[in-house]
Symmetry: C2
DNA sequence: ATTTTAAATGCGACTGAGTTGCGTTTGTGA
DNA sequence: TCACAAACGCAACTCAGTCGCATTTAAAAT
């Protein structure tokens, strides 16, 4: 039962178990792709407060329950799992048709050589294409 | 003289040679890194109109005089040159210290294998690290 | 040089994302 | 059950970017 794992996740991060947080957690646990603020709002209903939702997204991110993704659409998206879980700089796939964003757990990026004097720390990759649902 | 090349660029794209456009072109010709709206505004002075500036950025992009870059900071940045000039999906380097964004003309060889059913079209890479000035 | 006209500008209003301060409510542990 | 920090709800705000519309202007035609 998801309920239990959600409960655990909050508890072990020292986050209070509030109604919104449980619902928010459910959103992520029941979705395989990344969610934007509007996506989440739609799932949770109009009632949710914007500030509170954003603050919780920040809290979840801080606690490594979710990670934030910028798909160059201008709006941030969030997906379940700490970044490190899927590999340090795992790639993200953006479907050109449906705009859905997926975490590419095992896709690998290799061989970047930057000019002299530049030091690479992390590499973020965004793959655009057509997803398996389209 | 930059003036001439700028003049040419506008002319050959069917864009009228206005004061703002010449100044804007100068910004890009005299800078080796990507510029955000605030960056440009600062260079051009407070007088420039927001809408007009954005419209011209869009026009320049359309005309392949500049290309737009999303560095996951939330604000778009622009750099001289059509995308194709530096290679279809050339990488961008974001300095973690000074936040400067550079086009990495020759940097990438990327090898991505996506799950079954996903079809890759383009790959955008953002490298974070420390630039040669920092 | 003057007229013409479409393109470009300037301004104001607007949307949407995200943030912050503050007073009230609520989860949790003592 | 009580106390208190954490979380919430709300309003106000910033910042990026867009749009409609009336005015101006670059450039081509006369
Ligand atoms: Mn991911
Ligand atoms: Mn570039
Ligand atoms: Zn799709
Ligand atoms: Zn730097």
């Amino acid at each position: 039962m998801e309920y239990v794992i959600g409960d655990d996740l909050l508890q072990q991060q020292g986050l209070k178990r509030t109604k919104l947080r449980m619902a928010l957690l459910d959103c992520f646990l029941n979705t395989k792709h990344a969610l934007s603020y509007p996506d989440i709002k739609q799932m949770l209903g109009e009632g949710v407060d914007r500030s509170t939702l954003y603050r919780n997204l920040a809290a979840f991110e801080e606690a490594d329950i979710i990670h934030r993704i910028y798909d160059q659409s201008g709006v941030a998206k969030y997906a379940f799992g700490k970044v490190h879980d899927h590999g340090r700089d795992h790639a993200h796939f953006v479907c050109e048709q449906c705009e859905t964003v997926y975490c590419m757990e095992k896709a690998t990026t290799v061989d970047i050589n930057v000019p002299k004097g530049f030091k690479t720390k992390t590499i973020q990759t965004i793959i655009r294409g057509i997803c398996s649902d389209c």
